[in-house]
């Protein structure tokens, strides 16, 4: 191989690797407060994440601090719902019998108190028996009032030390009324994740943190096309490799014949 060609090749690769981190860094800073929802298959809202069936596999995953409690947050969406999962690891003796996780949702990306009008709460009634209640509230002047219609779904489970809370919240639901935050595709909403140990809202909230969730504008009918294209390119590359392999093995066996002939 010519020395100059090799050098040019090395320079191109080095330049590439120097440029790529700049894109990664800029994205890294933006994900501290904001989470871009990912599109994927709807998970089963049962309070557990089944990794063997790739549940939550395509979700945006962030590790965040809820006060001093480290949580794993997963955000996923499909054509109809936004799915949020919160998971944390806590020694059994630190779990309260009536622990809860709530999502207090703003009507926009604003973090003003008045904008947080909707609350979805999964409240354990007895955590040792995994008994819970999913509730939907609307907030009026700081008071939590029961919604006429319970929108969305939620489930929670304590498995040894790990608590898993799963929420399903409708996006652009036809039943949306003034009691719920009107989530829409392509918009950003502020979510206040709250943790508490007594079922009194809002005074029972012990820890909370606000995050912004960007709901993608594209729906599942569009995105799989992109995913499919990438997958097809990937399959084409592997197929080309397979064909080249067959050809290469053919050449190797022909070479063996040639060597034998030369020996004779």
């Amino acid at each position: 191989m010519k020395k100059t060609n090799f050098k040019v090749l090395i320079y191109i690769l080095v330049i590439n690797i120097l440029i790529i981190p700049f894109f990664l860094v800029s994205k890294g800073y933006s994900t501290v407060e904001e989470i871009d929802s990912k599109i994927g298959e709807s998970p089963v809202i049962d309070g557990s994440i089944d990794h063997s069936s790739r549940e939550w596999n395509k979700a945006a995953r962030e590790e965040k601090l809820l006060g001093d409690l480290s949580i794993i947050l997963r955000v996923l969406q499909d054509d109809e719902n936004l799915y949020v999962s919160i998971q944390f690891d806590l020694e059994v003796e630190y779990h309260s019998l009536s622990e809860f996780i709530g999502l207090i949702i703003s009507n926009s990306s604003s973090e003003d108190k008045e904008e947080f009008i909707d609350a979805k709460i999964i409240q354990f009634s007895n955590i040792s028996k995994n008994e819970f209640i999913y509730s939907d509230y609307y907030i009026d002047n700081g008071d939590f009032l029961n919604d006429t219609n319970v929108d969305g779904d939620g489930a929670a489970k304590l498995d040894e030390k790990i608590s898993t809370y799963e929420f399903s919240i409708p996006i652009k639901a036809s039943t949306t009324n003034e009691q719920d935050a009107a989530l829409d595709f392509g918009n950003t909403y502020a979510f206040n994740i709250t943790y508490g140990e007594t079922p009194i809202y809002k005074s029972g909230v012990k820890k909370s943190t606000i995050i912004l969730i960007n709901i993608k504008s594209t729906t599942t009918s569009v995105i799989p096309f992109t995913n499919l294209t990438v997958l097809i390119i990937c399959i084409v590359i592997f197929s080309i490799l397979g064909i080249l392999y067959c050809y290469y093995f053919y050449k190797i066996f022909r070479l063996k014949g040639n060597i034998k002939r030369i020996k004779r």
């Binding site: 060609n5 590359i237 592997f238």
Partner: protein, 138 residues
């Protein structure tokens, strides 16, 4: 004693040595190609995400998942470079930059589904290329 009878013996020895070298090189071509093929098949399972049990569980498993994918591709590249290099040597030609570039493109192509695997594979390939260049120079 005359030295004349010794010459055919020397020639025979050198011929035998050359044949033995060729056989060794041929074995190296074949074994490296088979190993490259094994890593190519493993790569299909991991990089097309047929096996995705390690993905998105926590940082540790994500790290294991990315490391496995990158190592598999780099081993594929390393074995295939060795195999093609020896093959070329057997037919009396040097390994050209076109073949090396094709191998790089096909290795990078396997990472298309995961940007992190792409970045780390690219980094690994650069290190391997620098290593091969230094070895060649020596």
């Amino acid at each position: 004693m005359s030295k004349i009878p010794k010459q055919p013996e020397k020639k025979k020895k050198s011929k035998e040595k050359r044949q033995s070298d060729e056989e060794f090189a041929y074995k190296s071509v074949l074994i490296s190609a088979i190993l490259g093929c094994i890593f190519y098949i493993i790569s299909i399972f991991f990089n097309i995400e047929i096996i995705s049990v390690f993905m998105n569980i926590n940082i540790f498993w994500t790290f294991i998942d990315i490391s496995l994918k990158v190592i598999i591709i780099l081993l594929f590249f390393l074995f295939m470079t060795t195999s093609i290099g020896n093959y070329k040597e057997l037919i009396g030609k040097p390994l050209s930059w076109k073949e090396l570039l094709l191998l790089i493109v096909l290795s990078i192509g396997q990472t298309i589904l995961n940007p992190l695997v792409f970045v780390f594979t690219l980094f690994g390939l650069i290190i391997i290329l620098i290593y091969l260049y230094v070895v060649q120079e020596m």
